[in-house]
């Protein structure tokens, strides 16, 4: 079947899903899954070698003829939408059922299908106006999904922040598409690299899509929105919706001519996002907020790769640029897989305990062995550890940066600090995820809720297992994916559509496979050896501590204290300390909160000033007619004076 028919089928069943979802959850599940599978098949057909699918119709929407296109790049992102979308559909069916949420669940299903449909639309539409329509629908659908639990004030607040920030970005995109249409005379999109006059428009692209991608410092909406949304929504927001910003950046940096400074700026912003995003993540105590900040880090890694690719393309199509681009594109898939897995795991913890505060959790592995194991796998993947997928894409980005360094051109001055910052960010990511996984799942339960946890059901386990499988396969056989990646790279820069994989990728896959087998073998062997000589069970020895209690364990705050202390200038933690006083102290407490610094220390103060100014101006409107007449007279007099003054010259 051609991609066109598959896409038509996917769109049709997805649209049917919107209607059906309001009443019949099972039918909705079937239809949405069928839709995602059809979309996956369409993208797969293009990625394995079919020619790009392009369709122009005389039929017009908003007085613009329809123009759809599925090339390597959009197919790559469509795969992400369908895999995470399908997994999220199955997860939502158990996680957000009618039984528990009779009011919001039907709404949630309808908006979920709308979101998937609009994401697909954004990816295939090749007309500026239709792109914007799809983009707006996607933003609104995501808003309603984030605010499913709108009875809670913090959810409403997060939703408003998201909506406001998104529309600030969309305003840039309106300006971009309108200017583009005015300059080229048509809303139609396509490669226009030779029209060099369009180059400055890329800055608008960077601002507009950067907000959606959560690029530092435009990430202000991201942590609260991703933390307060239901977990299947957080997963698709973090794994997929954020990638739409990346898609926009990759798409238009490929189609438009690129200003000379763009590569430097994107690379710099990417490296800064990677380091500062993970520094914020390290300091969080809220599990889902931690994952959200980590998304900022991963988008930073992706954009570091993209920036290096832009530099490579600008400096004579250097082969290291191709490696960096491949790493960036592969990281789009990888991050989608492991971040959704981690959000599903966090959702399962939230489902079982009702809290996202890590300091109240602990010891969950006993009640939730599946979630614990799968979360640990996701944590290893996101920390970029071999033999999982995160390492492969980070390795490719590093190869690109090192290539730039050894080539010793001007780009080396960007690549050198970026490589060092990525290394520090990688080590911080390891620290962050050791903290997240071990504080939540290991040790002793720190509160009653953690003690009474239960494992999630098969409907939530299956999508997690699927995504974990994706992480393992992408890690062990990266060379299989090379054709797809190189197809997408070809859509970005035609000269880079080389089919054969770089030789080390195959070797790396073999090494990763050997490593996985040996590590598993060694673990089993050591387990047996440890049990061969007899096992004695007892309380944790702890150097002979007499009465260990769960409250004495290291918490997330104490674990992250050292590293987040180094970033105190940025994090500006708010501490409230109540010391024990007197001979018989009644109580003591220490509360620490990490504010979203950019939002609370930069944007809110500016917003306050604007608000105060508007309030001051508003005093002019008070309902007294005499004064209004006076305003009119003053206004007329001013115009008169102006005309007189103008008439003299």
């Amino acid at each position: 079947m051609t991609p066109g028919l598959l896409l038509l089928f996917a769109a049709a069943v997805m649209a049917a899903g919107i209607a059906v979802g309001l009443r019949w959850p099972r039918a909705w599940l079937g239809l949405t899954l069928a839709g995602t599978i059809a979309a996956l098949a369409a993208a797969g057909v293009v990625l394995v070698g079919a020619p790009d699918w392009e369709w122009r119709s005389a039929f017009s929407v908003g007085s613009e003829p329809l123009h759809l296109r599925l090339d390597g790049l959009s197919a790559m992102f469509l795969v992400l939408v369908s895999v995470v979308g399908g997994a999220g559909t199955v997860y939502a069916h158990e996680y957000w059922p009618d039984r528990l949420y009779p009011e919001s669940a039907p709404r949630g299903r309808a908006w979920w299908s709308t979101l998937l449909l609009s994401l697909g639309w954004v990816l295939v539409s090749s007309n500026g106006l239709h792109f914007l329509l799809g983009w707006e629908l996607f933003t609104v659908a995501a808003y309603f999904l984030i605010t499913l639990e709108r009875a809670r004030p913090e959810v409403r607040k997060a939703g408003w922040l998201y909506l406001a920030a998104s529309h600030a970005g969309t305003a840039c995109l309106f300006a971009f598409f309108a200017t583009l249409a005015a300059r080229t005379g048509s809303w139609d999109l396509g490669p226009m690299r030779e029209q060099t006059g369009l180059a400055p428009l890329l800055w608008l692209v960077l601002a507009g899509f950067g907000v959606k991608a959560g690029l530092f410092p435009l990430h202000i909406w991201l942590p609260s929105a991703h933390a307060n949304a239901p977990s299947h929504v957080s997963a698709i927001m973090s794994g997929v919706a954020v990638k739409m910003g990346v898609y926009g950046l990759v798409r238009f940096s490929g189609w438009l001519p690129v200003p000379a400074a763009a590569g430097w700026v994107v690379l710099g912003l990417g490296a800064v996002s990677a380091l500062l995003g993970i520094a914020f993540a390290m300091a969080q105590d809220d599990l889902k907020r931690l994952l959200a900040y980590c998304t900022v880090e991963n988008v930073g890694i992706i954009l570091t790769g993209l920036g290096a690719a832009m530099l490579g393309a600008a400096h004579g199509d250097a082969p290291w640029g191709r490696l960096a681009l491949a790493g960036a594109l592969l990281h789009v898939w990888n991050h989608g897989a492991f971040k959704s897995l981690l959000f599903f795991g966090a959702g399962s913890v939230l489902h079982a305990t009702g809290t996202r505060e890590m300091s109240r959790l602990g010891g969950l592995w006993r009640a939730m062995p599946w979630t614990a194991g799968l979360f640990a796998l996701g944590a290893m993947a996101v920390a970029g550890l071999p033999p999982l997928n995160g390492f492969v894409s980070e390795w490719l980005v590093y190869l690109g940066l090192f290539g730039a360094v050894t080539a010793r051109g001007a780009s080396a001055w960007a690549a050198l600090p970026a490589a060092i910052m990525l290394a520090a960010a990688g080590a911080l990511a390891l620290a962050t995820f050791v903290k997240a996984a071990t504080v939540v799942f290991l040790g002793a339960p720190r509160s009653k809720v953690a003690d009474h946890a239960h494992e999630c059901g098969p409907g939530m386990r299956a999508p997690m297992l699927t995504l974990a499988g994706v992480c393992v396969v992408l890690g062990l056989a990266p060379v299989l994916l090379w054709p797809a990646v190189s197809r997408a790279a070809g859509a970005w820069h035609p000269a880079w559509a080389i089919a054969e994989a770089p030789a080390p990728l195959f070797t790396l896959g073999m090494v990763q496979l050997a490593l996985a087998v040996l590590a598993a073998g060694a673990a089993v062997w050591l387990w047996r050896r440890a049990h061969a000589n007899g096992v004695q069970r007892g309380p944790t020895w702890d150097c002979g501590y007499a009465a260990p209690a769960a409250r004495m364990q290291y918490t997330s705050g104490s674990f992250g204290g050292i590293a987040s202390g180094w970033f105190g200038w940025l994090l500006q933690p708010e501490r409230r300390l109540r010391r024990p006083r007197g001979p018989l102290p009644t109580g003591a407490s220490r509360v620490e909160r990490i504010p979203e610094t950019v939002l609370e220390r930069l944007i809110f103060p500016v917003g306050d000033v604007v608000l105060q100014a508007s309030t001051a101006v508003r005093r002019l409107q008070h309902g007294r007619l005499q004064f209004y007449v006076l305003y009119v007279v003053i206004g007329l007099a001013a115009i008169g004076a102006l005309v007189m003054a103008g008439g003299n010259s």
Binding site: T406, L515, N533, G534, Q553, F559
Partner: protein
Amino acid sequence: MIAVFDFVCRLALWVMLAPLLPGLINKVKAWVAGRRGPPVLQLYYDLARLWQKGVVLSTLVSPGFVAGPAVAWVALIGAAMLLPLGPAGVVFGFRGDVLLLIYLLALARFGTTWAAMETGSAFEGMGAAREVSYAVLAEAAMIAAVLTLSVQTGSISLDTMLEPTTGPGAVLLAGGLFTVLLAENCRVPFDDPNTHLELTMIHEVMVLDHSGPPLAVILHGAAIKLLLFSVLLTQAVLPMGDLGPVAAAGALAGGVLAVTAGVGLVESLMARFAFRRVPLLLTTAFLLCLFALLVAWKGGAS
């Protein structure tokens, strides 16, 4: 066939020789202090004894308590097998394998800290937190050192990038890498492998609750890591490209011995730093590597 033989020989070499290093360090320390000290082969005896013992497991731990050290051990052996050995070169290598080496060390760190956190003990949590936090600076210094080497040689595979130059760059690089070696292997002045005061430790405190074969695997892995860093440091700063195979092998062995003796001397002559000064020392190591990088950059351009 020859490749397989080579592989097995190297594996045996790494596994068998690694426990020698801590023994040598202890001998040096004893010699400086005027004591007789434990036998050089003490770690071998310890490992053999631990391997025969049973284990005591905390009631809190999951199977990850045993799996963590096993994964860490495999990762460290894997990292060691990537390193070239003087005249023998590498058994296999590819472009960018040096990054795999760095990330394998990170995987080993994940395994050991995971196992430490299993016990729910505050002491072990403290050690794990220190381990992962200080590694941030150590990893930045490592990558700066690797960038130095690849700027010097224009290569990013271990087989060809370890061709040191002489001059101030090599001295700076040696200083930086030696400091990273001390930090990553938890030696004085970062950590004190002798102390039993838990509050002051990183590595030792993470293994408080381990016993029997898992402890043996952890100790052996730590010895391999020490040998790995010594071999890397020696080959990164000691030029031996012009020597014959036997002389080069001798130079490598001599270099490793010198590094070991250096660790022992530092440990005898210095006290452990207060923890708040550890990041400063690691930042110094990073800066040394960074200056080496700048020297290499300038040297190549002229």
